[in-house]
């Protein structure tokens, strides 16, 4: 980016410093906005609603369990996005100000262990400070794209009207041409390179978050089976956009049949993530690294500093469909109750079994059940 700024400045203002200043100023302003307001912007953009403990005790408990397992100092805020697509994301600039958001679709579809895996993945993003890293990377990327775009516009414009500066300065026509060519090459290549690097970083952080989730839950199968359900669904999240994509547990823009070695994806292919998780012999980072090299070939997906030689056994006591586990139908009802309540609707359960949803602007003192005709106080 600095190079782009340098050549832009050199070409248009005859001073590299001015271009550099533009680049740095744009970057600093964007960084500050992202640093202080990033999480609230992201949450309001995705129309997420904050929940309290009473709204959904199970979800709250699962988040608290993962907060304890990861040793996070503060309980993250929990948000629900009213969307049938299956996805989740984490945000917040540091572990003390973190939020976890999941879609209502996910809340219905996943059982407790799967939800635990997903939440563990999101908490790992918080714990590894991926939110900060990826938002800084995306600002950097955005700045490069903006500058390159302006650069190309000004160049086209400048070449049509004839550059005043190059004629007035005179003399060094050849030097100007060389600078023009170099800056053109940079303007074209820099955004592409930046994007590829950005995607590569994002994929690496996803693998790391998967590994941490396995370590926290001691149960890689939970996340693997959740990813299986997520992969089987095709609904796209309406409120996602490109800048926020790396924060989600799976790529919100993914299409069917994406190639395994896709360089332009923010996320590794789901099938590969599942195979790695299922190939794990234990639950430690070491086991994840070995499973990764078995499935994918090559090593080094986990930073060497966090690799410990210790063995961590996988919990084997969890069984599907145990006592107290609500069925999918019960979860769907539970979730829709929460969503109505978050929309300030009042729910009245009639003796005949019907549920009346009273909208917040309903003014009458009583309401009649349309099913059996009983009247209820509002």
């Amino acid at each position: 980016m600095i190079l782009i700024g340098y050549f832009l400045g050199l070409y248009f203002f005859d001073s590299a410093i001015a271009g550099l200043l533009i680049a740095i100023l744009v970057w600093v302003v964007l960084s500050l906005i992202a640093y202080f307001q990033g999480d609230s912007i992201l949450l309001s953009m995705s129309r997420a609603k904050k929940i309290r403990r009473d709204d959904h005790p199970r979800l709250y408990n699962i988040v608290e369990e993962m907060k304890i397992a990861s040793g996070l100092e503060k309980m993250p805020d929990i948000y629900i996005i009213d969307d049938p697509a299956l996805n989740a994301f984490a945000t917040g600039r540091d572990p003390k100000r973190a939020s976890v958001a999941i879609t209502s679709g996910l809340l219905q579809k996943l059982n407790r262990d799967e939800l635990q895996g997903v939440i563990a993945h999101e908490i790992s993003h918080v714990k590894n400070r991926d939110v900060l890293l990826m938002s800084m990377c995306s600002i950097l990327l955005g700045t490069i794209v903006i500058l390159a775009w302006y650069g190309s516009r000004i160049m086209i414009f400048g070449s049509m009207t004839g550059s005043r500066r190059s004629s007035s300065s005179g003399g060094g026509g050849q030097g100007q041409a060389i600078i023009l060519i170099i800056s053109l090459v940079f303007i074209i290549l820099a955004p592409i390179m930046a994007q590829l690097i950005y995607f590569a970083i994002s994929r690496k952080r996803e693998y790391l978050a998967d590994a941490s989730a396995a370590l926290y839950t001691r149960y890689p199968e939970g996340l693997a089976s959740a990813l299986e359900k997520l992969g089987a669904s095709t609904g796209q999240l309406k409120s996602a956009n490109k800048a926020t994509a790396p924060m989600y547990i799976i790529n919100p823009f993914r299409k069917k049949g994406m190639k395994a070695s896709d360089l332009t994806s923010t996320h590794p292919p789901i099938s590969e993530r599942i195979r790695i998780l299922r190939a794990m012999a234990g639950a430690s980072f070491n086991d994840y690294d070995q499973a990764y090299s078995k499935v994918h070939g090559g090593t080094g997906v986990i930073p060497a500093a966090s690799l410990a030689a210790e063995t961590v056994p996988i919990t084997t006591t969890k069984l599907e469909g145990e006592a107290g586990e609500p069925t999918e139908l019960q979860r769907a009802r539970e979730t829709s109750d929460v969503m109505w309540r978050l929309g300030n609707y009042k729910t009245i359960t009639c003796d005949c079994g019907a549920k009346l949803r009273v909208p917040p602007n309903f003014r009458e003192p009583t309401i009649r059940c349309p099913h059996c005709g009983r009247t209820h106080q509002v």
């Binding site: 005790p57 199970r58 408990n61 699962i62 608290e64 369990e65 993962m66 304890i68 397992a69 990861s70 040793g71 407790r112 262990d113 926290y216 001691r218 210790e310 006591t317 969890k318 069984l319 145990e322 006592a323 107290g324 586990e325």
Partner: protein
């Protein structure tokens, strides 16, 4: 001043900085161990508080499980009494409590009326989650102890640890064999 003096001052400053960094690192790890231990305590206390409510709710429905319910209450009271005892004894009592609790929650399956009780379901969710939180906080405690102990034993931080009396911490092991084998009935 001669060059040698500068060199000596420089070396002393660098050594002091290294000492500070190592010392602070040890303090941070030790505090993490302490916090993790407190977290286990919080969750165990939460379990003591939940059990009487659960037993009270279940009593009306589970006429034939008087013995199981009594065993749960007894194990809970014993564990609470031993909460100020040493880690070993305490771990044993808590393990016992965990195993009678899982037995109780397994027989709940035979009482559909109880399973339909909203109050009981809420309590069961709380208890299930508290059991999970206990094991996760124990897991985090043991991870923290491992990191702290490694730090107190490895060169060069072991020198600092020896100088300022940082002692290795104990792991919170589940000593009871019953708890290791029994949980075929998990209630997640």
């Amino acid at each position: 001043m001669p060059v040698a003096a500068y060199v000596i001052i420089g070396v002393v400053v660098v050594l002091a900085i290294i000492l500070f960094v190592l010392y602070n690192g040890l303090v941070r790890l030790r505090n993490q161990v302490k916090n993790a231990w407190a977290q286990i305590d919080v969750q165990l206390k939460r379990r003591y508080d939940l059990i009487p409510n659960l037993v009270e709710t279940a009593k009306g429905y589970m006429k034939h499980e008087r013995e199981t319910l009594e065993a749960v209450t007894k194990a809970r009271n014993l564990a609470q009494q031993l909460s100020s005892a040493g880690a070993g004894e305490r771990a044993k009592a808590e393990g016992e409590l965990s195993s009678v609790l899982s037995r109780l929650l397994a027989v709940v399956e035979n009482y559909p009326d109880l399973k339909a009780n909203q109050n009981f379901l809420a309590l069961q969710e709380e208890l299930t989650s508290t059991e999970n939180k206990i094991s996760f906080s124990r897991q985090f405690y043991n991870d923290s102890v491992l990191r702290y102990n490694n730090q107190t034993q490895m060169v060069p931080s072991n020198i600092v640890a020896g100088m300022f009396g940082f002692k290795a911490s104990e792991f919170f092991e589940v000593t009871l064999t019953a708890e290791r084998e029994a949980p075929k009935v998990s209630f997640t």
